[in-house]
Amino acid sequence: MNKEPLKIAILGPKTRFNDLLHQFVKRDYPLGTVVDPEQADVCIVDLDGFDIEGLLLSQRQRMPDQPMIVLSLHQPDDDTCLWLKKPLQSRQLAEALETIRNSNGIVKETDNVKIVTATNQETRLNQAAQKLAVKHKANFKAVNTVIASATKYYEPVEYLQGLLIKAYRQAVTTGITLRIDTGWEPIFIYPHKRLVWVDADDQQLQAFCHLSIRKFTHLTGELASGPSITPELNTDGDSIPDGSQSMEAFLWKVSWWNSSGRLPRGVKSGNPIRLRRWPNLTRLWCPTSALRIAALLYHAARTPKEVVKHLGLPESDVYSFISASRAIGLIERVDEKEAAPTDLTEGEEQSLGLRPKHTPVGSHGGFLGKILRSLVGG
């Protein structure tokens, strides 16, 4: 086994965040070691840190080929960097570092170090391809692609979504009001009225949803015993507090936010899926693009990748939509054969029944667009 660690530099002044990064490498990523920028195999930069641009630029000039992992809230324009969106998940950072370690030729073929995250076949294939590519001096963008696919999936059971689904099932089958404790605000489930109540607004919920339950527990040091679902005996079931929301709408948005633009494990980006029916979008939190995704996936089976391509939407919008729809039971997997073949003409699709018989594009498609703009704008 190759014991040579990945040399990591953390750019920028000593901030609390950079301190955390140092600690992370020391504690959670023993395959790496922190060094000065000139000696590093990779630099990590907190782009939201103070006065970082100049530092970044000079480092780029000094070592133009050095891979750079950029951490920020918003995607930077520079696509030669590897961007990890904040709030940062240590798993993602470990994955990014691990991919760079692999692509650096630091890991030899015999090296059987396990990646921190669960490896699925796709990741393994990508890594194999990556190793091959390295031999032929692959550029850094290729690494970027690998990372994107390595972090494309999430495990719903590790998030509030998984807990909610479990609690919903219990509450509905027993008819008993339940309470979920995670160390965050307690969440109450009233199965008779199919309502949920929590003392938090959407912004707070969304922030909580960015973290896996374990990560949250770890960060806050709360609740050593882990999350729990318990009967809430001192309510009479009828006196539900104001501000409660429907179980479906709550699970939908929690799943949307838990997904953070990733697909739930079990839905492959290259396998066709279909919507059983439209989600109740008048009562669900979503961007307007959700209507287009719903229409397309209700229409015919497509792979998540195809939906992204076909509609020209950000991958994260499509994947979050799929995650949320799946959480409320609307996604079905489809045999490859049944899916809409992508290389058919409209006419062929039509004759196969894959398009509505009277797709108005070209006839009154422009008129529909006008109506749409009036509805959205007005």
Partner: protein, 189 residues
């Protein structure tokens, strides 16, 4: 383009047709008791039919006419005339009605041939008063009848609900529609 400029609202009495049309119409909607002459040619001169009418003025000119079908069955013939040149049917069903599934079947069958040629979106109203049947159940029901359509919970008094329902019809007709100006490839001049 004059051919496809109507949207038909139908459904049982009390489902929210009048309210929905009013919420979308730019001009004060009229509940007509008088009719355009082409629609009355089959009637005795003195006959009038009550129906809802509204209009949405579109960017760059053009209008979308919104029609609500009259409630009484004796005016059934009107529906055929109304639906000619319609881009689709907005079916509103009162969830608090006596037998909403019966209403659903009745109106879907009544408009079947028109829907086959155009499009359909279904809004379930008054779900705040009665939660059952669920959207899932409605979906099973239209499945049995061989229809596919968006089915959304709608409060006809909320413009945003009605607007979203109409948008769902538009996307159902053409999932490739985009909101941005430059993407409208077949803009009507």
């Amino acid at each position: 383009m004059a051919l496809y400029n109507k949207l038909i609202f139908t459904g049982p009495v009390g489902a929210g047709k009048t309210t929905a049309i009013a919420s979308l119409s730019d001009e004060p909607p009229v509940r007509t008791d008088a009719l355009a002459s082409d629609m009355t040619q089959n009637l005795k001169p003195a006959t009038t039919v009550a129906m809802d009418y509204g209009v949405m003025t579109l960017e760059g000119g053009g209008k979308l006419h919104l029609y609500g079908t009259p409630g009484q069955e004796r005016f059934n013939f009107m529906w055929e005339i109304l639906s000619q040149g319609g881009i689709g049917v907005i079916l509103l069903i009162d969830n608090n009605g006596n037998d909403p599934f019966h209403d659903l079947r009745f109106f879907l069958n009544r408009f079947r041939s028109f829907i086959d040629e155009s499009g359909l979106a279904i809004g379930i109203t008054r779900m705040d008063l009665k939660a059952d049947p669920t959207l899932e159940a409605y979906h099973k029901e239209i499945d049995k009848l061989g229809f596919r359509a968006p089915i959304l919970e709608v409060d006809a008094r909320r413009r945003s609900d009605v607007s979203l329902l109409v948008q769902s019809l538009l996307f159902h007709l053409d999932p490739g529609l985009e909101v941005e100006e430059e993407d409208v490839r077949f803009a009507v001049s």
